[in-house]
């Protein structure tokens, strides 16, 4: 038996194997997860313009919460500054999410999104994420005029899902 053959062949195969297993998996996407992207717009009668909202607090409205403190604040213009866009998380536990928009004028608007959802494997390194399909909505009209669902599929990325006319 030629042991030199065995030894050298084994060494070559081991080196090639190390090269193959050194290859990495693709990197993970957005660490913030999947969020619904919204933009604020204002119509001056002729054209539609992005609108910077100076005073705004956005809360997640939890229906079963016993106190107002349970409604998590997701955006505060006092901390984050004026904005014309928002990215908000959607609930995976139920098929609807409600947000409270506090414009600081003692008038609030609430937006409820109803959707279907399905889990999706981002990658085996990064795990699962949830994707959503917005099916309907309810909005109050104190400060917000109306909304338009521009893209009903909520997935990774910055693409705008909802236009809010203010």
């Amino acid at each position: 038996m030629n042991w030199r053959i065995i030894f050298k062949n084994t060494a070559i195969v081991a080196l090639l194997s190390l090269f193959i297993y050194a290859c990495d998996a693709p990197p993970c996407d957005d660490p913030d997860g999947v969020q619904v992207n919204m933009g604020f717009y204002y119509s001056d009668g002729n054209s539609l313009k992005d609108t910077l909202i100076d005073t705004l607090n956005v809360f997640l409205y939890k229906e079963n919460s016993s106190s107002e403190d349970d409604h998590i604040i997701m955006y505060s213009s006092n901390i984050q500054g004026a904005t014309s866009t928002l990215a908000l998380p959607l609930s995976m536990i139920v098929d609807s999410s409600t947000y409270i928009f506090d414009f600081g004028t003692k008038s609030f608007d609430t937006l409820t999104l109803k959707y279907s959802q399905y889990i999706h494997l981002e990658s085996h390194e990064c795990g699962f994420v949830n994707f959503y399909n917005i099916e309907s909505y309810k909005i109050t009209n104190n400060q917000i005029d109306s909304i338009w669902i521009r893209k009903d599929l909520v997935e990774y990325g910055d693409e705008e899902n909802i236009k809010i006319y203010y």
């Binding site: 030629n2 050298k8 062949n9 194997s17 995976m92 889990i119 999706h120 494997l121 699962f128």
Partner: protein, 222 residues
């Protein structure tokens, strides 16, 4: 002429490096070679999520041209804090090898070959105990993705060597470049591994076989 000499020199060097024994023999038994891929026993030590087996066979149908077939199975079990994943399936590769050893030493029974394979597989995968962390609305737990069957196919180009150990036993390796042709799209969950191919997110991939062969003697070739 000079090119031919250089080419011969390169091939001789390759053979020297791999120490393939070149021995003159008068008559040699010919027949079907069957092999078991020994590297499959090592894979679980490098990648503890995968295990499987592979057998191969080849037969010389024309001078220096061998038809070849490989069958195997591969399973994956992946457990982490957010989900459990498993997949399993069988695969087949069919093709041919051309042995150019005889151009270097006409009487050698060793092989130095290039090969082409077409590979295909059907396999299933599923996931359980899926959880997604959400600090705002609350965590998602207990998700499950039912068993889903997928298929894939690919081409392989390989280079390999095989040397005689003792009697009709041979040891050899081949390195392959795999080019993915297609894989069933699963929009919910991409497979972790394609049996017989490798990582599905790469359109080309490399593979290695390190096999022990036994040549079943059928007839003697002069």
């Amino acid at each position: 002429m000079a090119m031919k000499r250089i080419l011969r020199y390169i091939i001789n060097l390759t053979l020297l490096f791999t120490s393939i024994g070149v021995k003159a023999q008068k008559q040699e038994w010919q027949g079907i070679s069957v092999g078991a891929d020994l590297s499959r026993f090592v894979v679980p030590f490098i990648d503890s999520t995968r295990y499987g087996w592979e057998f191969s066979g080849d037969y010389e149908i024309l001078k220096d041209l061998f038809i070849a077939a490989e069958i195997g199975s591969e399973s994956t079990h992946l457990t982490n804090s957010n989900y459990d994943y498993s997949s399993s399936g069988g695969y087949t590769r069919l093709g041919a090898d051309y042995n150019f050893m005889k151009h270097l030493d006409e009487k050698s029974t060793d092989k130095l070959f290039v090969g082409l394979r077409y590979g295909f597989t059907t396999f299933y995968h599923e996931a359980d105990n899926i959880s997604i962390t959400d600090d705002n609305w609350g965590n998602y737990t207990g998700g499950k993705i039912e068993k889903n069957w997928l298929a894939a196919n690919w081409l392989e180009i390989g280079l390999g060597m095989r040397a005689k150990l003792i009697n009709n036993f041979y040891l050899g390796w081949s390195a392959r470049v795999r080019v993915k042709i297609g894989v069933t799209k699963d929009t919910v969950m991409a497979p972790y591994s394609i049996p017989g191919y490798g990582q599905p997110w790469n359109n080309t991939w490399m593979g290695i076989n390190y096999s022990l062969y036994y040549k079943i003697p059928i007839y003697k070739k002069k």
